[in-house]
Symmetry: C2
Subunit: 139 residues, 2 copies
Amino acid sequence: MANSQFSMAVHILTVLACGKDENVKSEYVARSVNTNPVVIRRVLGQLGQAGIVTSQTGAFGGTRLARAPEDISLCEIYKAVSCGEIFGLPRSPNRDCPIGANIEAVLCNLQKDIERTVGDKLRQYTLATILENVNLAKA
Amino acid sequence: MANSQFSMAVHILTVLACGKDENVKSEYVARSVNTNPVVIRRVLGQLGQAGIVTSQTGAFGGTRLARAPEDISLCEIYKAVSCGEIFGLPRSPNRDCPIGANIEAVLCNLQKDIERTVGDKLRQYTLATILENVNLAKA
DNA sequence: CATATCTGTAACAAGTATAGTTACAATCGT
DNA sequence: ACGATTGTAACTATACTTGTTACAGATATG
């Protein structure tokens, strides 16, 4: 299954942003994402550890944004739920072969370069950008 | 399993590049990558369809680069074996919810933007770049 | 033309990741 | 004390990647 946790995280945070400073229940978010509340809470757990949201247990509990949408970059969200690399490195190249012995390091550097590039791009967007676009599309 | 087809493709092509204009057998490549020849031939099939390599069946057959390493960009290789997106889109957002109805298009645009960015970055490298780096590391 | 050598590809097994689901302990307002 | 909600473990279903075996088709060589 293709990993859609980043998409889900953005969707979830957009719902929370619309909830302003009210606690939003995972069950409510689940209806917009069209999935099970536990799936929402799992992602919310990662976003909480990253300091992007804060949750309250108990009656009238729920989750809200820890900061204003303008201060939450998509890069931060991506890293919070980050699940795997853009491309995987070679598994077990033959180190007796001159190429096999060196290709891993070369690809690893390339991988870091790509991920830095993606990070820079994602940093250009914030949750506020997403909110604007969603509202634009609505109009 | 994390997808390492791009890494494998680059590794394979590096081996082919070292074979100059000789046909290289999948069994030989498999020893450098440390896997089964069929796995190599599978990737080689995709690279062949993309016009990056040419193969010959039969005795003394094998595969060679279709072009000079300087003329093969990593972007081309990435697209040839392209296996999935940087991040998956939402599966089935609730279209009765204003957010659910619009988030998919917004994320899809974002996804295209990211993939364009990655493509631009990969276009800065060619197979020749990789060859240089592998040889540098060897020295 | 017969043979040995390769590729191309189908079919299947094994390992692993994601998502969905159920269940329940812990927490907290009333 | 009670009801509402999160946090989290455990399990299932699905699907993707890799590795492996098997074999048909193509081709150079003697």
